[in-house]
């Protein structure tokens, strides 16, 4: 049969070696790309820890590196949640800190004096390389090495994953995605081989995942779901039994060693699915065993009935325990994934977090670009050859796309499966169009001329007449021969390449294939272009959207040069250098970790939002008038109040914009002291200008934000550049607080809480006295009324 292009003859083993070499080179290049593309943040700004949670992780890691693991485990942080304090060891996933601690110690063991900060900053990029490798292995199990390579390159640069793993975003997700993919890989491997060994490896990495990220619940439910579906498809095998049992037993036991998790795996509903499937598998295995030994039909039916009964019984028991409260119902954060109204109504804190918002389609496209369009195709291809592992990918795809739709942050779990599916699709495409074989062209068949030549030759005196009906003329025959000879090695090479790259068996059948170079070139060129477009897109998104450490902001000067806005660190360092060690700082919880990390001062609430009441207390203090707030502040020993104020330079993420959440959360606890409607104008608008509601104008948040702001405009109309509203010409006044510090661009404003008045007067009165106001003459307190009242 013909080929599109003749191939040179190469020895098969050479081909094999070259391909493996190329594979290694490709992988290392991909890792390089993955790491490099995450370094924009460091290059544009500096080697600094990003946004909010990472600051706590960084702080914890410093403790770990300085004091060792046991001290870290027993670490009680008295500066967090003042005055409640926080038992850090028991309330975090220590995997991240432990990892960077180990790396740090190894490096120092090798006499490489690396600063722990740089370890933390560069951890995420490093692990992204590992993620690429894990994805390669995973996809290799699904299709072949070439698909694996493509998948690795996708995950390496997909913005959906970069968004959580740029250098400096030192968060649990940084290592969690690698663990996710590698656990899945080992699970698939264990399932394929039915080996308890790989099952145990999966369990070990599952344990690592549990220690690293709360998202481990995703694995805890994905694998049982996969097993269940396989059972329903009637695909029960001993391989499944061995893999699942070994994974579940070892994984659950080890996961219970993490202090933060403790007995949840047997006490909460998130983990019940795994347990149930485990039990189900035991039943099925048992019945299978019996069936293989016992012949009698009645016994089998009896057995089947018994099994079904016991299964129902088990389910009933779990339900009963849940109702009894022995098994905790789903935690709010998890439950809100299903009942999407739940969080909004009952846990405003969860609803208030920006990364818990649902996802609009542009973010999907922004994060995955062309991959999102071909990922369904990949899923379809998985349906085409429906091996067990493909079932896994299919389930994963559907579940992850649902979760990603509900919560922005779960885009992270969708990205790997999209990359895998897209890679399967793309490599199938390239397999089809790069395969040099051409099928027999039925229309071309009859065009071959059939000429019959009858030749006679006389040799010597004898007279022989030979008439041979020639099937085809000699030249054509020659051509055929030549072709045949050419074809043999070529096809062999092709097949070896096919084997080496694992494409064998896809397009070696005769009835299909692509004709001619033209269509090959068109399709290949088109998709190569598409992928290049994807690369350009990812680079652009990474450098522009995902590489800013929200600690340092940047804007463009008129001349296009970069202007760095460094107010946060300015203010935090002011606190660090000008306030006593034990000065408690009250701010909205978003900034708790940063204050603790950069200013090293006790904070009232921070990003670990475990105590709704305490946060509501802060919300109430911010939302109510000074007179009401002052006792709260004094009770909690607060000496400084820190607010974020963006109106001067138009920084939209400021506290006035978050204010409604503070009000809502406070209202949840004190419904008749704080009420949301009173902060809106009668027309129901959220305004900060002249028409702002009195509750709004008297609130501590409003006063501390706009205090002396009008003076900036020197008599002109002061304007709020975030809300785009005109502010009152006369700004608010403060009696119980006094301005202590305001950063360069007014983003951070810090106020000191005044102490008791020297004479024990109310501070308002004291102020009016200091301004020399006369108070009206008093009269003796009427004692008789009091007597009457008693």
């Amino acid at each position: 049969m013909p080929d599109a292009i003749p191939l040179p003859r190469v020895a098969p083993e050479t081909v094999a070696n070259t391909t493996s070499l190329l594979r290694i080179i490709a992988l290392s290049l991909i890792s390089g790309a993955a790491i490099a593309s995450r370094l924009f943040a460091v290059i544009n700004f500096e080697s600094i820890i990003h946004e909010f949670d990472p600051w706590f992780n960084y702080r914890a890691t410093r403790v770990l590196a300085a004091k060792g693991f046991y001290e870290f485990w027993n670490w009680f942080d008295p500066t967090a949640w003042y005055p409640l304090g926080r038992v850090v060891g028991g309330t975090i996933y220590p995997g991240l800190m432990a990892t960077s601690g180990v790396i740090y110690n190894i490096l120092h063991g090798l006499n490489l004096p690396v600063d722990i900060r740089n370890v933390c900053v560069l951890l995420a990029p490093g692990f992204s390389a590992l993620t690429a490798w894990a994805t390669y292995m995973f996809t290799k199990e699904l299709k072949d090495a070439s698909a694996g390579l493509i998948a690795a390159s996708f995950i390496g640069i997909a913005p959906g994953y970069i968004s959580r793993s740029v250098a400096g975003s030192y968060d649990n997700e940084a290592i969690a995605i690698f663990l996710l993919m590698f656990t899945f890989f080992t699970w698939i491997k264990a399932l394929k081989l039915g080996s308890a060994f790989f099952g145990t490896i999966a369990a070990v990495f599952y344990f690592y995942m549990v220690a690293a990220w709360g998202g481990y619940v995703f694995i805890t439910n994905m694998i049982p779901l996969h097993a269940l579906v396989l059972l329903l498809m009637g695909r029960y095998t001993n391989r499944l039994y061995v893999a699942y049992s070994s994974w579940y037993a070892v994984g659950t036991l080890s996961s219970m060693q993490v202090p933060f998790v403790g007995f949840q795996p047997v006490r909460t509903s998130e983990h019940m699915a795994a347990l149930g499937v485990f039990g189900l598998l035991q039943l099925v295995a048992f019945s299978d065993l019996v069936r293989s030994h016992v012949g009698s039909k009645q016994f089998r039916t009896l057995l089947r009935v018994a099994l079904v009964a016991s299964g129902i019984l088990g389910g009933a028991v779990i339900v009963l325990l849940t109702l009894k409260g022995w098994i905790a119902p789903w935690t709010g954060r998890f439950y809100s994934l299903w009942d999407t109204e739940y969080a909004k109504k009952y846990i405003p804190i969860i609803a208030s977090v920006s990364e818990h918002q649902p996802t609009a389609w542009p973010s999907f496209f922004m994060d995955l670009h062309v991959l999102i369009t071909i990922f369904p195709a990949g899923v379809i291809l998985c349906f085409k050859e429906l091996r067990d592992e493909h079932v896994f990918v299919i389930i994963y795809a559907v579940m992850a796309s649902y979760f990603a739709g509900v919560m922005v942050r779960l885009m992270l779990t969708l990205t790997p499966v999209v990359c895998v599916a897209a890679a399967i699709a793309t490599s199938t495409l390239f397999d089809t169009y790069l395969d040099v074989h051409e099928p027999e062209d039925p229309s071309a068949e009859n065009s071959v001329p059939v000429v019959t030549v009858s030749g006679e030759s006389h040799v010597g005196g004898t007279n022989v007449t030979v008439t041979t009906p020639a099937p085809a003329p000699t030249p054509s025959k020659k051509a055929k021969k030549a072709q045949a000879q050419a074809a043999a090695p070529a096809s062999s090479i092709a097949s070896t390449i096919a084997e080496a790259t694992g494409t064998a068996g896809v397009t070696t059948r005769q009835d299909r294939g692509v004709f001619g170079l033209g269509s090959r070139l068109v399709v290949v060129a088109l998709w190569v272009y598409m992928l290049l477009f994807f690369v350009v897109h990812s680079t652009w998104v990474t450098s522009n959207a995902y590489s800013s450490p929200s600690v340092v902001l940047s804007s463009r000067n008129p001349d296009g040069s970069q202007h760095i806005i460094d107010d946060f660190r300015e203010a935090y360092y002011w606190l660090r250098q000008n306030t006593p060690e034990d000065a408690v700082v009250m701010s909205w919880w978003d900034y708790g970790y940063q204050i603790a990390g950069m200013a090293d001062r006790p904070t009232m609430v921070d990003n670990n939002t475990w105590n709704n009441t305490h946060i509501a207390t802060v919300g109430k203090a911010m939302a109510s008038s000074e007179e009401v707030a002052y006792p709260i502040l004094r009770k909690h020993d607060v000496s400084y109040v820190l607010v974020i104020f963006g109106s001067l330079i138009g920084y939209s993420g400021d506290d006035i914009n978050k204010f409604l959440w503070m009000i809502r959360i406070a209202q949840g606890i004190w419904p008749d002291e704080v009420s949301e409607p009173s902060f809106f104008t009668p027309r129901g608008e959220y305004k900060v200008d002249e028409q702002a509601s009195p509750a709004m104008k008297n609130s501590v948040m409003y006063k501390t934000s706009y205090y002396r702001f009008a003076e900036l405009y020197g008599g002109n109309q002061p304007q709020d550049r975030v809300r785009n509203q005109n502010l009152p010409m006369k700004g608010p006044t403060l009696d119980y607080l006094e301005e202590a510090f305001t950063s360069e661009n007014w983003i951070v404003r810090i106020y000191a809480v005044k102490g008791d008045d020297e004479l024990g007067r109310d501070l308002k009165v004291a102020n009016s006295f200091n301004e020399g106001k006369k108070r009206k003459r008093g009269r003796p307190l009427v004692r008789r009324r009091a007597v009457a009242a008693v």
């Binding site: 369009t373 369904p376 085409k384 795809a397 649902y402 399709v523």
Partner: protein, 320 residues
Amino acid sequence: MLLLSLLSFFLVPACWAISRETAYSDFIDAAASNGGVIDLTTQTFDLLTASDREWSATIQLTALGNTYKCAPCKQFEPSFKTVAKAWSKVAPKHRDNHFFATLDFANGPEVFRRLGLNSAPFVYTYPAAQGDRVPANGKVDPIPFDFTVSEFDPKSFSEGISRFTPVKIPYKPPTDFKPIVSAIVAILTLSLGYRVALPLLLNRWFWAILSIGSSLIFISGFMFVRIRGNPYVAAGSGGAQWIAPGYQNQFGMEVQVVAFIYGILTFSFLSMTLFVPRLPSKGRQTLAVGIWSGVTVIVFSVLIGFFKLKNGGYPFRLLF
């Protein structure tokens, strides 16, 4: 002259007292007659919210007249009625201490003016100002019911108001038969159409379409629209506007459009991968390849353009 004034001076409090007495019984009767809801006018409103009231009252200020085009009013009206009805079932000794009343804008515009309301509906609860049911914190001024945290449905409304009533409002949401019925129907259809359903359920492509469809819908922001309750299209300037402005926002119609675009791209890709190689002749293959590549390029550039609409700063483009 002087006598008259004196008379009036003495009479005013008397008749006031009388009116209050009668008013109270009138309110009870009105409530009883009208399914627990008193229809107010300005005068009766003043009586009901008199500063020396010994009862508490939950008053709905609404504008049901078609001239006002107040959709939320109409939306909320029934749940107010149902809750009031539920309240009228309570034992009289509790029931007569709390009234449900409604004041339509048509009957009492000056009340709206007085309260500074220029939108509707509003629900104010007036606690008892005298007697033993005065709230502990002594605040007797009206408390607005907060629609922002709880919706219009009667359940949350009755929960919200139960804080002020002497006893909890005995409101039970009507048992919802929909899921039960649908479940029964589903079971029946399955058991009857077993023969039909089985091969379908056993067919992998059925499941394939199911899963692909769902993920396509999800990745086009279906859940966003669902959770945020965004409209299908918005009535913008110059007709319906179906593209929500802003990067983090979208309308219902965009879900369909985007899902459709994704579907086309997926399909063209699949046909390039799976179907083209099956075509027996070279010419048809070349044609198909051309068509599908064209479709891919064009549709994808449409998608990019759409994305540029949502995200202004996006620098790249394909064809247009």
